[in-house]
Subunit: 240 residues, 2 copies
Amino acid sequence: MTAPRKTPIWKEISRALRADIAEKIYTEGDKLPTEAELAARFGVNRHTVRHALKSLIEDGLLRSRRGAGVYVTAAPTDYPIGRRVRFHQNVLAGGQTPQKRILHIDHRPASDGEAQALKLPLRAPLVVYHGISLADDHPIALFSSHFPAELLPGMADALRETSGVTEALKRCGVSDYTRISTRISARIATATQANHLHTQEGAALIYTTGVNVDPDGTPVEFGQTWFAADRVTLTFDSPD
Amino acid sequence: MTAPRKTPIWKEISRALRADIAEKIYTEGDKLPTEAELAARFGVNRHTVRHALKSLIEDGLLRSRRGAGVYVTAAPTDYPIGRRVRFHQNVLAGGQTPQKRILHIDHRPASDGEAQALKLPLRAPLVVYHGISLADDHPIALFSSHFPAELLPGMADALRETSGVTEALKRCGVSDYTRISTRISARIATATQANHLHTQEGAALIYTTGVNVDPDGTPVEFGQTWFAADRVTLTFDSPD
DNA sequence: GGTTATTTGTGCGTATGTATG
DNA sequence: CCATACATACGCACAAATAAC
Protein backbone atom coordinates (compact mmCIF):
# COMPACT_ATOMS: atom_id res chain seq x y z
CA MET A 1 0.00 0.00 0.00
CA THR A 2 1.29 3.39 -0.95
CA ALA A 3 0.66 6.48 1.09
CA PRO A 4 -2.17 8.63 -0.24
CA ARG A 5 -1.07 11.79 -2.05
CA LYS A 6 -2.71 15.15 -1.48
CA THR A 7 -1.67 16.92 -4.67
CA PRO A 8 -1.09 15.07 -7.96
CA ILE A 9 2.52 14.58 -9.01
CA TRP A 10 1.97 16.21 -12.38
CA LYS A 11 0.73 19.38 -10.68
CA GLU A 12 3.83 19.51 -8.50
CA ILE A 13 5.99 19.20 -11.59
CA SER A 14 3.95 21.84 -13.36
CA ARG A 15 4.44 24.18 -10.43
CA ALA A 16 8.18 23.50 -10.28
CA LEU A 17 8.63 24.25 -13.97
CA ARG A 18 6.46 27.34 -13.70
CA ALA A 19 8.67 28.56 -10.88
CA ASP A 20 11.80 27.90 -12.92
CA ILE A 21 10.38 29.99 -15.75
CA ALA A 22 9.35 32.79 -13.41
CA GLU A 23 12.88 32.76 -11.95
CA LYS A 24 14.37 32.89 -15.43
CA ILE A 25 16.24 29.63 -14.97
CA TYR A 26 14.56 28.85 -18.25
CA THR A 27 13.74 32.00 -20.20
CA GLU A 28 12.15 33.06 -23.45
CA GLY A 29 13.29 30.91 -26.37
CA ASP A 30 15.13 28.41 -24.19
CA LYS A 31 14.68 24.72 -24.84
CA LEU A 32 13.58 22.68 -21.87
CA PRO A 33 15.31 19.39 -21.11
CA THR A 34 13.76 16.51 -23.04
CA GLU A 35 10.74 14.77 -21.61
CA ALA A 36 12.92 11.75 -20.88
CA GLU A 37 15.41 13.88 -18.94
CA LEU A 38 12.66 15.61 -16.98
CA ALA A 39 11.10 12.23 -16.20
CA ALA A 40 14.43 11.04 -14.86
CA ARG A 41 14.97 14.24 -12.86
CA PHE A 42 11.57 14.05 -11.18
CA GLY A 43 11.66 10.26 -10.96
CA VAL A 44 8.37 9.75 -12.77
CA ASN A 45 7.02 8.29 -15.98
CA ARG A 46 7.25 10.30 -19.17
CA HIS A 47 3.46 10.45 -19.37
CA THR A 48 3.37 12.25 -16.05
CA VAL A 49 5.84 14.84 -17.31
CA ARG A 50 3.77 15.22 -20.45
CA HIS A 51 0.69 15.87 -18.34
CA ALA A 52 2.52 18.68 -16.55
CA LEU A 53 3.86 20.12 -19.79
CA LYS A 54 0.41 20.01 -21.34
CA SER A 55 -1.00 22.27 -18.64
CA LEU A 56 1.82 24.78 -19.16
CA ILE A 57 1.33 24.69 -22.93
CA GLU A 58 -2.37 25.39 -22.44
CA ASP A 59 -1.43 28.36 -20.26
CA GLY A 60 0.77 29.68 -23.04
CA LEU A 61 4.06 29.46 -21.17
CA LEU A 62 5.52 26.70 -23.34
CA ARG A 63 5.35 25.57 -26.95
CA SER A 64 6.28 22.11 -28.20
CA ARG A 65 7.66 21.12 -31.58
CA ARG A 66 7.62 17.46 -32.46
CA GLY A 67 11.09 16.14 -33.08
CA ALA A 68 12.70 19.30 -31.71
CA GLY A 69 11.74 19.88 -28.11
CA VAL A 70 9.72 22.04 -25.77
CA TYR A 71 10.46 25.77 -25.74
CA VAL A 72 9.67 28.63 -23.41
CA THR A 73 7.39 31.17 -25.09
CA ALA A 74 6.84 33.71 -22.34
CA ALA A 75 9.49 35.52 -20.37
CA PRO A 76 8.34 37.17 -17.15
CA THR A 77 8.30 40.94 -17.23
CA ASP A 78 10.79 42.59 -14.89
CA TYR A 79 9.10 45.44 -13.10
CA PRO A 80 11.45 47.82 -11.30
CA ILE A 81 10.19 49.34 -8.06
CA GLY A 82 11.64 52.53 -6.70
CA ARG A 83 10.97 56.24 -6.35
CA ARG A 84 9.77 56.62 -9.90
CA VAL A 85 7.35 53.88 -10.89
CA ARG A 86 6.04 54.33 -14.42
CA PHE A 87 4.18 51.47 -16.03
CA HIS A 88 4.86 52.54 -19.61
CA GLN A 89 8.56 53.13 -19.04
CA ASN A 90 8.97 49.91 -17.07
CA VAL A 91 7.46 47.75 -19.76
CA LEU A 92 9.18 49.59 -22.63
CA ALA A 93 12.51 49.13 -20.85
CA GLY A 94 11.83 45.40 -20.88
CA GLY A 95 11.46 45.48 -24.66
CA GLN A 96 7.70 44.95 -24.56
CA THR A 97 4.76 47.05 -25.72
CA PRO A 98 2.72 48.54 -22.88
CA GLN A 99 -1.03 49.03 -23.04
CA LYS A 100 -3.83 49.81 -20.62
CA ARG A 101 -7.44 48.74 -20.80
CA ILE A 102 -10.03 50.73 -18.88
CA LEU A 103 -12.46 48.60 -16.90
CA HIS A 104 -14.29 51.30 -15.04
CA ILE A 105 -13.87 54.92 -14.00
CA ASP A 106 -15.84 55.79 -10.91
CA HIS A 107 -16.60 58.85 -8.84
CA ARG A 108 -17.29 58.21 -5.17
CA PRO A 109 -16.42 59.31 -1.61
CA ALA A 110 -13.24 57.98 0.01
CA SER A 111 -13.33 55.14 2.52
CA ASP A 112 -11.37 55.32 5.78
CA GLY A 113 -8.22 53.70 4.42
CA GLU A 114 -8.27 55.60 1.14
CA ALA A 115 -8.73 58.95 2.87
CA GLN A 116 -5.88 58.19 5.25
CA ALA A 117 -3.51 57.17 2.46
CA LEU A 118 -4.20 60.35 0.51
CA LYS A 119 -4.31 62.54 3.63
CA LEU A 120 -7.83 63.67 2.77
CA PRO A 121 -10.83 64.33 5.02
CA LEU A 122 -13.23 61.41 5.43
CA ARG A 123 -15.59 60.83 2.51
CA ALA A 124 -13.72 63.31 0.31
CA PRO A 125 -14.63 62.83 -3.37
CA LEU A 126 -12.37 60.47 -5.31
CA VAL A 127 -11.90 59.49 -8.91
CA VAL A 128 -11.32 55.73 -8.98
CA TYR A 129 -9.81 54.10 -12.05
CA HIS A 130 -10.00 50.32 -12.45
CA GLY A 131 -8.12 48.74 -15.33
CA ILE A 132 -5.84 46.11 -16.77
CA SER A 133 -2.18 46.58 -17.67
CA LEU A 134 -0.90 44.62 -20.63
CA ALA A 135 2.54 43.90 -22.05
CA ASP A 136 2.63 42.65 -25.65
CA ASP A 137 -1.15 42.16 -25.48
CA HIS A 138 -0.87 39.81 -22.49
CA PRO A 139 -2.47 40.99 -19.26
CA ILE A 140 0.09 41.32 -16.48
CA ALA A 141 -1.77 43.24 -13.78
CA LEU A 142 -5.06 44.56 -12.48
CA PHE A 143 -4.98 47.94 -10.82
CA SER A 144 -7.14 50.54 -9.17
CA SER A 145 -5.90 54.10 -8.88
CA HIS A 146 -7.51 56.61 -6.54
CA PHE A 147 -7.22 60.34 -7.15
CA PRO A 148 -8.43 63.28 -5.06
CA ALA A 149 -11.19 64.72 -7.26
CA GLU A 150 -11.13 68.26 -5.86
CA LEU A 151 -7.39 68.62 -6.33
CA LEU A 152 -7.51 67.32 -9.89
CA PRO A 153 -10.52 68.72 -11.77
CA GLY A 154 -11.20 66.93 -15.04
CA MET A 155 -9.15 63.90 -14.03
CA ALA A 156 -11.83 61.38 -14.99
CA ASP A 157 -12.08 62.75 -18.53
CA ALA A 158 -8.30 62.96 -18.83
CA LEU A 159 -8.04 59.29 -17.86
CA ARG A 160 -10.72 58.29 -20.34
CA GLU A 161 -8.82 60.04 -23.13
CA THR A 162 -5.25 59.02 -22.34
CA SER A 163 -5.76 55.88 -20.20
CA GLY A 164 -2.30 56.60 -18.78
CA VAL A 165 -1.83 57.93 -15.26
CA THR A 166 1.26 60.02 -16.00
CA GLU A 167 -0.36 61.71 -19.00
CA ALA A 168 -3.66 62.32 -17.23
CA LEU A 169 -1.93 63.84 -14.22
CA LYS A 170 0.06 66.12 -16.50
CA ARG A 171 -3.19 67.42 -18.02
CA CYS A 172 -4.41 68.21 -14.53
CA GLY A 173 -1.33 70.25 -13.73
CA VAL A 174 0.85 67.61 -12.04
CA SER A 175 3.97 67.61 -14.17
CA ASP A 176 5.89 65.16 -12.03
CA TYR A 177 5.29 62.76 -9.17
CA THR A 178 7.29 60.38 -7.04
CA ARG A 179 6.35 57.37 -4.97
CA ILE A 180 6.84 57.83 -1.25
CA SER A 181 5.77 54.43 -0.01
CA THR A 182 5.27 50.98 -1.44
CA ARG A 183 3.84 48.00 0.39
CA ILE A 184 4.07 44.53 -1.08
CA SER A 185 2.22 41.36 -0.20
CA ALA A 186 0.72 38.36 -1.97
CA ARG A 187 -2.84 37.26 -2.63
CA ILE A 188 -4.77 34.40 -4.18
CA ALA A 189 -6.60 35.17 -7.41
CA THR A 190 -10.40 35.24 -7.20
CA ALA A 191 -12.40 33.87 -10.12
CA THR A 192 -12.97 37.31 -11.65
CA GLN A 193 -9.37 38.38 -11.16
CA ALA A 194 -8.19 35.13 -12.74
CA ASN A 195 -10.52 35.73 -15.65
CA HIS A 196 -9.14 39.20 -16.32
CA LEU A 197 -5.53 38.05 -15.99
CA HIS A 198 -6.01 34.91 -18.10
CA THR A 199 -4.82 32.67 -15.31
CA GLN A 200 -6.55 30.28 -12.94
CA GLU A 201 -8.51 30.82 -9.76
CA GLY A 202 -6.15 30.28 -6.83
CA ALA A 203 -3.08 31.47 -8.74
CA ALA A 204 -0.53 33.61 -6.91
CA LEU A 205 -0.76 37.37 -7.27
CA ILE A 206 1.71 40.03 -6.12
CA TYR A 207 -0.31 42.70 -4.35
CA THR A 208 1.18 46.15 -3.99
CA THR A 209 -0.13 49.43 -2.66
CA GLY A 210 1.58 52.74 -3.08
CA VAL A 211 1.16 56.48 -2.73
CA ASN A 212 2.47 59.00 -5.24
CA VAL A 213 3.04 62.64 -4.33
CA ASP A 214 3.68 65.76 -6.36
CA PRO A 215 6.93 67.75 -5.93
CA ASP A 216 5.37 69.61 -2.96
CA GLY A 217 4.69 66.36 -1.16
CA THR A 218 0.92 66.45 -1.69
CA PRO A 219 -0.52 62.98 -2.33
CA VAL A 220 -1.98 62.77 -5.84
CA GLU A 221 -2.58 59.04 -6.22
CA PHE A 222 -3.19 55.99 -4.08
CA GLY A 223 -2.83 52.84 -6.13
CA GLN A 224 -3.39 49.13 -5.69
CA THR A 225 -1.98 46.62 -8.16
CA TRP A 226 -2.42 42.88 -8.49
CA PHE A 227 0.32 41.39 -10.67
CA ALA A 228 0.09 37.88 -12.15
CA ALA A 229 3.05 36.29 -10.39
CA ASP A 230 3.54 33.90 -13.31
CA ARG A 231 4.37 36.73 -15.63
CA VAL A 232 5.90 39.43 -13.44
CA THR A 233 8.86 39.77 -11.13
CA LEU A 234 9.26 42.97 -9.16
CA THR A 235 12.86 44.08 -8.96
CA PHE A 236 14.59 46.45 -6.64
CA ASP A 237 18.10 47.41 -7.67
CA SER A 238 19.96 49.34 -5.03
CA PRO A 239 21.84 52.23 -6.60
CA ASP A 240 25.60 52.06 -6.18
CA MET B 1 -40.00 45.00 -8.30
CA THR B 2 -38.29 46.40 -5.25
CA ALA B 3 -36.09 49.44 -5.44
CA PRO B 4 -32.43 48.48 -5.81
CA ARG B 5 -30.33 49.00 -2.67
CA LYS B 6 -27.40 51.31 -3.15
CA THR B 7 -25.10 48.94 -1.28
CA PRO B 8 -25.63 45.18 -0.96
CA ILE B 9 -26.36 43.80 2.51
CA TRP B 10 -23.19 41.73 2.60
CA LYS B 11 -21.11 44.84 2.02
CA GLU B 12 -22.80 46.56 4.93
CA ILE B 13 -21.96 43.58 7.13
CA SER B 14 -18.44 43.52 5.80
CA ARG B 15 -18.03 47.19 6.66
CA ALA B 16 -19.50 46.68 10.13
CA LEU B 17 -17.09 43.84 10.91
CA ARG B 18 -14.19 45.80 9.46
CA ALA B 19 -15.07 48.67 11.78
CA ASP B 20 -15.22 46.29 14.75
CA ILE B 21 -11.74 45.04 13.94
CA ALA B 22 -10.40 48.58 13.42
CA GLU B 23 -11.87 49.52 16.81
CA LYS B 24 -10.21 46.45 18.34
CA ILE B 25 -13.57 45.07 19.49
CA TYR B 26 -12.19 41.95 17.89
CA THR B 27 -8.42 41.95 17.89
CA GLU B 28 -5.44 39.90 16.83
CA GLY B 29 -6.01 36.20 17.33
CA ASP B 30 -9.61 36.57 18.53
CA LYS B 31 -12.23 34.14 17.37
CA LEU B 32 -15.26 35.76 15.78
CA PRO B 33 -18.76 34.62 16.73
CA THR B 34 -19.89 31.64 14.69
CA GLU B 35 -21.46 32.30 11.32
CA ALA B 36 -24.82 31.29 12.75
CA GLU B 37 -24.52 33.81 15.59
CA LEU B 38 -23.49 36.57 13.19
CA ALA B 39 -26.42 35.69 10.93
CA ALA B 40 -28.76 36.08 13.90
CA ARG B 41 -27.14 39.34 14.99
CA PHE B 42 -27.53 40.94 11.56
CA GLY B 43 -30.86 39.26 10.87
CA VAL B 44 -29.75 37.71 7.59
CA ASN B 45 -29.11 34.31 6.13
CA ARG B 46 -25.84 32.55 6.93
CA HIS B 47 -24.90 32.70 3.23
CA THR B 48 -24.98 36.48 3.38
CA VAL B 49 -22.67 36.46 6.39
CA ARG B 50 -20.34 34.07 4.55
CA HIS B 51 -20.22 36.46 1.60
CA ALA B 52 -19.15 39.27 3.91
CA LEU B 53 -16.58 37.08 5.67
CA LYS B 54 -15.19 35.92 2.33
CA SER B 55 -14.40 39.49 1.30
CA LEU B 56 -12.60 40.12 4.59
CA ILE B 57 -10.64 36.87 4.26
CA GLU B 58 -9.57 37.89 0.76
CA ASP B 59 -8.42 41.20 2.20
CA GLY B 60 -6.33 39.30 4.73
CA LEU B 61 -8.15 40.57 7.83
CA LEU B 62 -9.64 37.22 8.78
CA ARG B 63 -8.67 33.60 8.50
CA SER B 64 -11.04 30.66 8.66
CA ARG B 65 -10.20 27.22 10.00
CA ARG B 66 -12.63 24.48 9.14
CA GLY B 67 -14.19 23.02 12.24
CA ALA B 68 -12.68 25.70 14.46
CA GLY B 69 -14.00 29.11 13.53
CA VAL B 70 -13.07 32.42 11.98
CA TYR B 71 -10.14 34.28 13.50
CA VAL B 72 -8.79 37.78 13.28
CA THR B 73 -5.48 37.68 11.44
CA ALA B 74 -2.48 38.89 13.35
CA ALA B 75 -1.46 42.43 12.44
CA PRO B 76 0.99 42.02 9.60
CA THR B 77 4.65 42.47 10.37
CA ASP B 78 6.17 45.28 8.36
CA TYR B 79 9.38 44.12 6.77
CA PRO B 80 11.49 46.93 5.25
CA ILE B 81 13.42 46.04 2.11
CA GLY B 82 16.39 48.10 1.00
CA ARG B 83 20.15 48.09 0.85
CA ARG B 84 20.55 46.72 4.33
CA VAL B 85 18.20 43.83 5.01
CA ARG B 86 18.66 42.38 8.48
CA PHE B 87 16.02 40.02 9.81
CA HIS B 88 16.79 40.62 13.49
CA GLN B 89 16.79 44.40 13.16
CA ASN B 90 13.66 44.44 11.02
CA VAL B 91 11.63 42.41 13.47
CA LEU B 92 12.99 44.21 16.53
CA ALA B 93 12.09 47.54 14.90
CA GLY B 94 8.52 46.27 14.64
CA GLY B 95 8.45 45.66 18.39
CA GLN B 96 8.55 41.88 18.04
CA THR B 97 11.04 39.25 19.18
CA PRO B 98 13.01 37.67 16.33
CA GLN B 99 14.11 34.06 16.32
CA LYS B 100 15.45 31.58 13.80
CA ARG B 101 14.97 27.82 13.69
CA ILE B 102 17.43 25.70 11.75
CA LEU B 103 15.81 23.11 9.51
CA HIS B 104 18.86 21.82 7.71
CA ILE B 105 22.40 22.86 6.89
CA ASP B 106 23.71 21.25 3.75
CA HIS B 107 26.95 21.11 1.81
CA ARG B 108 26.60 20.58 -1.92
CA PRO B 109 27.71 21.83 -5.37
CA ALA B 110 25.98 24.88 -6.85
CA SER B 111 23.31 24.52 -9.52
CA ASP B 112 23.32 26.70 -12.64
CA GLY B 113 21.18 29.46 -11.21
CA GLU B 114 22.91 29.49 -7.83
CA ALA B 115 26.38 29.66 -9.38
CA GLN B 116 25.29 32.51 -11.63
CA ALA B 117 23.78 34.49 -8.78
CA LEU B 118 26.96 34.19 -6.68
CA LYS B 119 29.29 34.62 -9.68
CA LEU B 120 30.89 31.26 -8.97
CA PRO B 121 32.08 28.55 -11.36
CA LEU B 122 29.59 25.79 -12.08
CA ARG B 123 29.27 23.17 -9.33
CA ALA B 124 31.33 25.24 -6.87
CA PRO B 125 30.82 24.03 -3.29
CA LEU B 126 28.05 25.76 -1.35
CA VAL B 127 26.85 25.84 2.21
CA VAL B 128 23.05 25.85 2.10
CA TYR B 129 21.06 26.88 5.15
CA HIS B 130 17.34 26.08 5.32
CA GLY B 131 15.36 27.52 8.19
CA ILE B 132 12.31 29.26 9.59
CA SER B 133 12.15 32.88 10.73
CA LEU B 134 9.85 33.61 13.65
CA ALA B 135 8.49 36.80 15.21
CA ASP B 136 7.07 36.44 18.72
CA ASP B 137 7.22 32.65 18.29
CA HIS B 138 5.02 32.79 15.19
CA PRO B 139 6.59 31.59 11.94
CA ILE B 140 6.64 34.35 9.36
CA ALA B 141 8.98 33.01 6.68
CA LEU B 142 10.87 30.05 5.27
CA PHE B 143 14.29 30.78 3.85
CA SER B 144 17.26 29.14 2.23
CA SER B 145 20.60 30.93 2.22
CA HIS B 146 23.43 29.89 -0.07
CA PHE B 147 27.05 30.71 0.79
CA PRO B 148 30.24 30.11 -1.21
CA ALA B 149 31.98 27.44 0.90
CA GLU B 150 35.54 28.16 -0.28
CA LEU B 151 35.27 31.86 0.43
CA LEU B 152 33.83 31.31 3.91
CA PRO B 153 35.62 28.43 5.69
CA GLY B 154 33.80 27.28 8.80
CA MET B 155 30.53 28.91 7.74
CA ALA B 156 28.42 25.81 8.40
CA ASP B 157 29.65 25.55 11.99
CA ALA B 158 29.24 29.28 12.53
CA LEU B 159 25.63 29.05 11.35
CA ARG B 160 24.93 26.09 13.63
CA GLU B 161 26.22 28.04 16.62
CA THR B 162 24.70 31.45 15.97
CA SER B 163 21.80 30.59 13.61
CA GLY B 164 22.02 34.21 12.45
CA VAL B 165 23.41 35.12 9.05
CA THR B 166 24.94 38.44 10.09
CA GLU B 167 26.72 36.90 13.09
CA ALA B 168 27.96 33.87 11.18
CA LEU B 169 29.32 36.00 8.35
CA LYS B 170 31.14 38.17 10.89
CA ARG B 171 32.85 35.07 12.28
CA CYS B 172 34.01 34.22 8.78
CA GLY B 173 35.57 37.61 8.27
CA VAL B 174 32.71 39.47 6.58
CA SER B 175 32.09 42.41 8.89
CA ASP B 176 29.48 44.05 6.70
CA TYR B 177 27.36 43.28 3.68
CA THR B 178 24.78 45.03 1.53
CA ARG B 179 22.07 43.78 -0.78
CA ILE B 180 22.63 44.58 -4.43
CA SER B 181 19.54 43.03 -5.97
CA THR B 182 16.14 41.91 -4.81
CA ARG B 183 13.53 40.14 -6.89
CA ILE B 184 9.99 39.76 -5.62
CA SER B 185 7.22 37.49 -6.75
CA ALA B 186 4.41 35.43 -5.26
CA ARG B 187 3.88 31.71 -4.87
CA ILE B 188 1.31 29.22 -3.65
CA ALA B 189 2.19 27.33 -0.48
CA THR B 190 2.87 23.62 -0.91
CA ALA B 191 1.70 21.23 1.77
CA THR B 192 5.08 21.12 3.51
CA GLN B 193 5.57 24.88 3.31
CA ALA B 194 2.10 25.42 4.73
CA ASN B 195 2.90 23.03 7.55
CA HIS B 196 6.07 24.89 8.52
CA LEU B 197 4.37 28.28 8.32
CA HIS B 198 1.23 27.19 10.19
CA THR B 199 -0.99 28.17 7.30
CA GLN B 200 -2.97 26.30 4.66
CA GLU B 201 -1.92 24.60 1.46
CA GLY B 202 -2.64 27.01 -1.37
CA ALA B 203 -2.09 30.09 0.79
CA ALA B 204 -0.32 33.08 -0.74
CA LEU B 205 3.42 33.47 -0.14
CA ILE B 206 5.64 36.41 -0.97
CA TYR B 207 8.71 34.97 -2.66
CA THR B 208 11.90 37.00 -2.74
CA THR B 209 15.40 36.30 -3.95
CA GLY B 210 18.38 38.48 -3.23
CA VAL B 211 22.14 38.67 -3.37
CA ASN B 212 24.29 40.17 -0.64
CA VAL B 213 27.83 41.38 -1.29
CA ASP B 214 30.70 42.36 0.97
CA PRO B 215 32.17 45.90 0.84
CA ASP B 216 34.42 44.83 -2.08
CA GLY B 217 31.41 43.77 -4.11
CA THR B 218 32.07 40.04 -3.80
CA PRO B 219 28.85 38.04 -3.47
CA VAL B 220 28.68 36.33 -0.07
CA GLU B 221 25.08 35.15 0.05
CA PHE B 222 22.27 34.22 -2.29
CA GLY B 223 19.02 33.94 -0.41
CA GLN B 224 15.45 32.85 -1.10
CA THR B 225 12.64 33.70 1.27
CA TRP B 226 9.00 32.63 1.36
CA PHE B 227 6.98 34.98 3.58
CA ALA B 228 3.49 34.08 4.80
CA ALA B 229 1.56 36.82 3.03
CA ASP B 230 -1.17 36.98 5.67
CA ARG B 231 1.41 37.89 8.31
CA VAL B 232 3.98 39.98 6.46
CA THR B 233 3.99 43.11 4.32
CA LEU B 234 7.20 44.14 2.60
CA THR B 235 7.76 47.88 2.62
CA PHE B 236 9.94 50.19 0.56
CA ASP B 237 10.25 53.63 2.02
CA SER B 238 11.96 55.95 -0.39
CA PRO B 239 14.31 58.19 1.57
CA ASP B 240 13.69 61.90 1.20
C1' DG C 1 20.74 14.91 -50.22
C1' DG C 2 20.27 10.73 -47.70
C1' DT C 3 20.79 8.33 -43.41
C1' DT C 4 20.45 8.06 -38.62
C1' DA C 5 19.67 9.39 -33.96
C1' DT C 6 16.82 12.23 -31.24
C1' DT C 7 12.52 13.92 -29.64
C1' DT C 8 7.66 14.67 -29.45
C1' DG C 9 2.96 12.58 -30.34
C1' DT C 10 -0.13 8.67 -29.89
C1' DG C 11 -2.19 4.32 -28.66
C1' DC C 12 -3.00 0.41 -25.66
C1' DG C 13 -2.72 -2.10 -21.43
C1' DT C 14 -2.34 -2.41 -16.29
C1' DA C 15 -3.07 -0.93 -11.63
C1' DT C 16 -4.63 2.05 -7.82
C1' DG C 17 -7.38 5.40 -5.10
C1' DT C 18 -11.64 8.04 -4.83
C1' DA C 19 -16.27 9.36 -5.44
C1' DT C 20 -21.12 8.08 -6.62
C1' DG C 21 -25.26 5.52 -6.59
C1' DC D 1 -21.57 -4.52 -0.40
C1' DC D 2 -21.15 -4.07 -5.15
C1' DA D 3 -21.01 -1.78 -9.72
C1' DT D 4 -19.57 2.00 -12.18
C1' DA D 5 -17.01 5.97 -13.49
C1' DC D 6 -13.09 8.95 -13.29
C1' DA D 7 -8.43 10.69 -12.40
C1' DT D 8 -3.84 9.39 -11.56
C1' DA D 9 0.42 6.90 -12.61
C1' DC D 10 3.35 3.49 -14.88
C1' DG D 11 5.26 0.60 -18.91
C1' DC D 12 5.90 -0.57 -23.61
C1' DA D 13 5.71 0.19 -28.52
C1' DC D 14 5.58 2.76 -32.60
C1' DA D 15 4.62 6.80 -35.77
C1' DA D 16 6.05 11.33 -37.28
C1' DA D 17 8.79 15.41 -37.32
C1' DT D 18 13.25 17.37 -36.62
C1' DA D 19 18.23 17.89 -36.34
C1' DA D 20 22.86 16.39 -37.03
C1' DC D 21 26.29 14.20 -39.64
